[in-house]
Structure formats: C-alpha cells, structure tokens
C-alpha cells in the first residue's frame, strides 16, 4: 500500500523542531531513520498530517566518550554502531547485539534514538539499555531531562517522553576490564523479531560472576530485568554451583506474555535456554 498524503518539513535546529511539535501536537510525527514509521505509513496504521525530518540536526549525531559515559546520539544508525571502535571498546554488548537487528538495508538507515523512543519490547536496543542501566537524554522546549532506563520504558510502546520532547542521546557506563557481556536471541529466521532475547552483563570475579544483570526482550510489554533473581547474587558472586538456584528463581520470576505463535510456557522455556547458554559462555570468559 501507499502512504496517505502528509506534509513534510526538515528543520535545521532543535528549537524549530519544538516549535513544529508545539503547533502540530499529535498530528506530527518525528522522522529519523523511518524504518518503522514508513512501514506503518505505507500500511496506513498511522496517518499523521506532518512528518518532521530531524536528520539535519547535528546535535543528535555522533558517538563520543564524555567523562565516565559513552554518549550515543539519537541519529546514530545501527550500521554506525556496528562499525564503531568506540562502541566495541566501551559498550561491547551493543556490538554483539547489532547483527541481530533486522537486515543490513534496514540497519543502514534505522537509528538508535528511534529504537529507544519507539520502545518496542522485542527490539534489541531498549533491552541493552536496560541491561547496562543506561540513561536516556531527552529535550523539549523547556529543557533537558535525564531518565534512567528503568524509569523510561513504561509500557507497550510507551515511554516517559512528555509531549513535545524527543530523545537526543543515551549515556552508557564505560565497560571496565573485568566486565563481561553476552547477547543472544532466538528467532525463526535471522533478522526476524526474536521470540526471546537476552542481554547479560556481569563482572568477572575468580570462579564466578558478580553484579549479574539479566535483561530480556520479547517477554513482556517492556524490556524485562530479572531483578529478583539478580538480587540473589548481589552480595555473593554467581558460580556454576548456583545454577539450579538461579534457574529456579528466574523461571518463577519471569511471567512472559504469549505472542501470536509462541505460548507463555514456550517463551519461559526458551528464556531459560538462553540464560543457561549465556551464563556458561560468560563464566568461560
């Protein structure tokens, strides 16, 4: 199908974006990479009167280290993350996750900020942001706010962004030498939406893993952190001896939502499969 008619503006400054958002309200949509938005327009699932193309705004671009954080601008594409030496060094979880995102032709245009703002619970970036306890930087006409990942993803496609605000960047803690990261997902076909995915972050200690973080995609209405299970290992590192205890806790904690083809029980089982695989791999690091 073809998209319905709409107006198109390509402002050169954030202030101009805020003006357009203020005057058009709900009738306007921001266009960055467009890899989700244009599909929904073509299918007429969304019929905005105005597209505001934000790709000319330099302040939203670039990957940089700023003090103790890695800053990823909203307009950074998935392919740029894939090729980034800074990301590979400071946020290797993202380098592991990025090949799973759709296909090359989509990664060449789709953006980091678009994925975060769209907040698809089956998407890779919100899950990674949750695992890393990253921060979303948002800005509106009234100024800038920093929102922790756990406070940003509120519900299905629903975030803490207020009307008239946009995501300008995210900040991720810099990976330390002892940090271990693993990402994997289970999908019928490479690039399809995953049935379930897992981002694991931990700190390697002799014989085990400290500060274990487990974030799942595809299980609920937002990325899901297994906080109750993580807490079991807050003060004592996880070792292979505790695999049984971890799995018991995790499978009790996870309450997956079924999708069109996979039952909640299937998703819970597959989440367990992924967890075992990634823990074994992380322990071997």
């Amino acid at each position: 199908m073809k998209a319905p008619a709409f107006d198109y503006q390509k402002p050169r400054s954030l202030d101009a974006v805020f003006d357009l958002l203020a005057s058009h309200g709900d009738e306007a949509r921001l266009l960055a990479g467009g890899q989700t938005l244009l599909a929904t327009l073509n299918m007429r699932l969304s019929e905005p009167a105005l597209l505001i193309d934000i790709t000319a705004i330099e302040a939203l671009k670039g990957i940089s280290v700023q003090g103790q954080v890695l800053r990823i601008g909203a307009l950074v594409t998935h392919s740029e993350i894939e090729a980034s030496a800074l990301v590979a060094q400071h946020a290797p979880l993202l380098s592991q996750a990025v090949p799973h995102i759709a296909h090359r032709a989509i990664r060449n245009l789709g953006t980091w900020g678009g994925s975060i703002a769209y907040a698809d619970p089956a998407a890779e970036w919100p899950c990674c942001l949750a695992a890393l306890d990253g921060v979303v930087v948002v800005r509106g006409a009234r100024g800038e706010r920093r929102i922790a990942a756990r406070d940003f993803f509120l519900d299905l496609y629903t975030t803490a962004l207020a009307e008239g605000e946009l995501v300008t960047a995210c900040e991720l803690p810099l990976a330390q030498a002892a940090d271990v990261f693993r990402f994997d997902e289970l999908a019928r076909r490479h690039g399809d939406y995953a049935i379930v995915g897992l981002a694991l972050a931990a700190r390697s200690v002799p014989g085990g893993l400290g500060q274990l973080r487990l974030a799942f995609l595809g299980l609920g209405t937002t990325p899901i952190r297994a906080r109750r299970t993580e807490a079991l290992f807050e003060n004592t590192p996880f070792t292979t001896m505790q695999l049984g205890a971890l799995m018991d806790s995790l499978l009790d904690e996870l309450q997956p939502l079924a999708d069109l083809t996979n039952s909640a029980a299937t998703k819970r089982h597959l989440a367990g499969v992924l967890t075992r695989r990634l823990l074994a791999s992380a322990l071997a690091a």
């Binding site: 199908m1 073809k2 998209a3 319905p4 008619a5 709409f6 107006d7 198109y8 266009l31 467009g34 890899q35 244009l38 599909a39 327009l41 073509n42 299918m43 009167a49 597209l51 193309d53 790709t55 392919s79 090949p99 759709a102 296909h103 090359r104 032709a105 989509i106 060449n108 245009l109 076909r189 490479h190 690039g191």
Partner: protein, 163 residues
C-alpha cells in the same frame, strides 16, 4: 498538503531535478517518474527486499525512504550498477548458477550481495545466508543464490580484487 517539493539528487551518476509529493517513496519515484524499473516493489513495508537500492553508497529499502529524503543525495539502482560493470561478475554468477527463475527478487539480491562482497569479502557461507535473509526469493530456495555469491567471493579473492 500534497504540494510537490523540488529535489536535487544524483541518480546513477546523473544529476536530476524533480518535483515529488512528500508521500511518494523512493522506488515509486525511480520507477514511475524516472522509468528505472529495475528496482521492484514487493511488500511495500520493508520485509521482502525487492526494492533494495543504494543511497549514498549503502543499501536501503527503497519503500522505506521517501523521495524527498533523497534530496541532495546519491541514489544507485541496478541499472547504474549494470552500466558501470561493477557487478558483472555477480550477474554472470547468478546466470551460471541458475540463481534466479522469475527474476523479481534479483535486482534486490544483487544490491544486497554487492554490499556484502564489498564490506565482508571473507564472509562464511553462514554469514552470506544471514546477510541475504532480508531479501525474499520465492523460486530458488536460496541455495543457488548463496552458491553464486560464494563463487564471486572466491573468484575475487583469487584475482586479488577484494580487500
């Protein structure tokens, strides 16, 4: 609302000035306005890959880019690649391996495969399969397409062409 915008862009190396409606996506523009019908239109929501073209040197879904977004940029289609001869070996390999039957997916496959050969000349067969998973073929079962791409990898390596 449907007022046309003037865009300036390069298509297969040729400078173009055109008026487009904001709602028109890039492949409709290429096919309907410029007559470049080598890029095909399948699903029109970014799944099938038949509309794959290059924008500023990288493959994109032509149905997920608006023509107005191509303002100031360079677009290449299978016609341009064919004319320049840069994918001649790939096209020959597709013929030699019977990597097409109806041909609907072929231009998109060639665009996708060309970027793989350029960026990952040593990709494994498994990586080739993963790479083209974004391009649907309903005829061949993919084996012949993967064979053709792997043949070109090998021949370019042997010729010392690839990096």
């Amino acid at each position: 609302m449907d007022d046309k915008r003037i865009i300036h862009l390069s298509v297969n190396g040729e400078s173009r000035h055109c008026a487009v409606a904001p709602r028109q996506h890039l492949v409709d523009f290429l096919r309907e306005d410029l007559g470049l019908t080598g890029s095909h239109l399948g699903c029109e929501h970014g799944v099938c890959g038949a509309c794959t073209v290059r924008l500023d040197g990288q493959v994109v879904r032509g149905c997920l880019v608006l023509a107005v977004q191509a303002d100031g940029r360079a677009v290449e289609t299978v016609e341009g690649l064919t004319e320049s001869g840069t994918v001649r070996d790939l096209q020959d390999a597709f013929v030699a391996r019977n990597a097409l039957q109806c041909g609907y997916c072929t231009s998109g496959m060639l665009m996708a495969a060309a970027e793989l050969l350029d960026t990952q000349p040593n990709a494994s067969r498994e990586q080739v399969r993963a790479w083209i998973s974004g391009n649907y073929c309903r005829c061949t079962g993919y084996q012949a397409i993967v064979d053709a791409i792997c043949d070109v990898q090998a021949s370019r390596r042997a010729a010392g062409v690839s990096a």
